[in-house]
Symmetry: C2
Subunit: 337 residues, 2 copies
């Protein structure tokens, strides 16, 4: 089902009846799920009430990150994964994150035409997340939405994100298992994927495996993986490499098998708990930093920061001394940083 919030974003809103929304979401009401995500992805008045009410219901969903450069067939593969999970009866939530765009929006959903086949399936919930153009946007909103889907009883939550870069690695850190898609003949893609993303992935999918160069891509990947230190220790996870032709759903069962295998490995050796604690710590930290940041801007006035910034531009003060002045206004002892 498409998020109903897409069509009602501009409508006036009644105060939220949070317990009713949570009951509705857990009973499968897509509108309730969408409304809850809207309440948590911005700092709404009901945010805390929602957060407290969600907590007891969280921790059950398997969180799968799906990432890859433009052109590897990410949306197609995600859609095929969703179909395969649906065939097992699992309910699937999808957070489609676009770290390159500061805008939320329909344009992004337009790219995802292949996901339309799931638009009328009540066991599927799709939400586009944009970075909202400010630092920390992804770190803030995505885990909050993830908690809503988890509490609403989705068995699998897929976080799908484009591309290459720091934001992608951050998104990968939200997932229990991260799937990196590659395609033949995209040497630049592999080069760009580089150390950070390779290290962050648990399952590698060579999509478009019917194209020339697929064997070479698999070989390149094996070579890059052999260079990494992370996977060489005894008992460590050995990343799986799966070939798919997502547009014909070929190999998708193998992707799910690799995700399940990774899940069993994590459960067996405690890694799942380690990852989820790290994720929770990052989430708490992001909330604290957002609160402090908003205090810097709002309580003490942006005028104060702007005045200091102007002095930095003219060279009459350095940025560290300026930071001390701001920290001092928050009650810190300057120089303690």
């Amino acid at each position: 089902m498409r998020s109903p919030a897409d069509s009602t974003a501009g409508a006036p809103r009644r105060p939220a009846d949070v317990p009713a929304l949570i009951d509705g979401a857990r009973a499968g009401d897509a509108r309730a799920v969408a409304r809850l995500i809207s309440l948590v992805e911005v700092a709404s008045p009901a945010l805390r009430e929602v957060a407290v009410a969600l907590a007891p219901h969280t921790g059950r969903a398997r969180v799968v990150g799906v990432t890859g450069a433009p052109g590897v067939g990410r949306s197609t593969a995600t859609s095929a994964l969703v179909s395969a999970y649906r065939a097992t009866g699992a309910r699937v939530g999808i957070l489609a994150v676009d770290p390159s765009s500061p805008y939320s929006g329909g344009a992004l959903l337009g790219d995802r035409v292949r996901m339309q086949e799931h638009a009328i399936d009540n066991g599927v919930f799709i939400r586009s997340m944009a970075s909202r153009g400010h630092l920390g946007g992804l770190a803030w909103a995505t885990p909050q939405a993830l908690r809503v889907l988890d509490a609403a009883g989705f068995d699998v939550v897929i976080i799908e994100t484009v591309g290459v870069g720091q934001a992608e690695v951050e998104i990968a850190s939200l997932a229990d298992t991260t799937v990196l898609l590659l395609a033949p003949g995209m040497g630049d893609g592999i080069q760009a994927a580089k150390a950070g993303v390779i290290e962050a992935a648990d399952v590698f999918v060579v999509n478009k495996a019917d194209r020339e160069g697929a064997d070479q891509t698999v070989r390149d990947l094996r070579y890059m993986l052999s260079l990494g230190g992370r996977h060489s220790a005894a008992g460590a996870w050995r990343p799986e490499i799966v070939r798919t032709v997502a547009v014909r759903a070929e190999g998708i069962a193998g992707v799910i098998a690799a995700i399940d295998k990774h899940g069993e490995w994590m459960t067996r050796n405690g890694e799942l708990d380690v990852r989820r604690r790290a994720r929770a710590a990052s989430e708490i930290e992001a909330i604290v930093v957002a609160a402090l940041r908003s205090q810097l801007r709002d309580v003490h006035g942006s005028a104060s920061l702007d005045r200091l910034a102007a002095q930095v531009v003219t060279g009459s003060i350095d940025p560290h001394t300026a930071a001390d002045v701001l920290l001092g206004s928050l009650g810190y002892v300057p120089g303690s940083t």
Copy 2:
């Protein structure tokens, strides 16, 4: 000149004689420049002394961001730009930022073989910056290094960064003028560049313009720019589109002319000051947030955050309440966020 820090990174260090280093850097000593960057890019004991001493000398360099997806010829174009600036007698500093890698390193410099032609030129300073694998890494280290190069008297500082994504937009925000490189036949690249990066760029370069499809890329670009709202107001900057074949240095003079034209436009209407104040405000904010973050981890002990994170995983507390507990330990009133 290559940063001498590359070969001495593991050597023991004497305490820094900051005034001598700044004198040396301003007199053209590459070792002094490299040492100062090393002192500011991590929180060294001398960081504050360096920052204070740099401030009066800053604000003179033109800061140019050069960005583009893998394969567009970014290193080649940057190298050609450097040659063209050097021909005018300008001293050029280059910060090569790799937001996809949490590792600093030689591998990245290996990609930049074309920059080698400048390695023995005393008027050129090249430094690779990695994101160091933690949130806020780019926001912290790059502006600090930029201030060193500015204070050392480099006329132009080029911040070169790969790819697509949030980090790239952040890097663009450090520059006075941002140049986005595209190449023909990389439709995915344009698609990936999308709203965020398109909005952030001031000058567009269609490189490899001798290849088939260059006209189409220029048309696509014009169309995308015509959709944007930012540039339609009267007196607003109309982004320039320049064709280049960087490997033969064709069109590079046009890129510099477009950068200069944008600079004159910014100076005329006050935009340069607006951008530099925004940059300084972000820099101050990043320092404040880094200080608070380190306080969360260090002073109150990571044990406290880890314990709260474990409670979030089991659902016995929500992350916002956990954040309140941490904020309370820093002297904030819970619930005020």
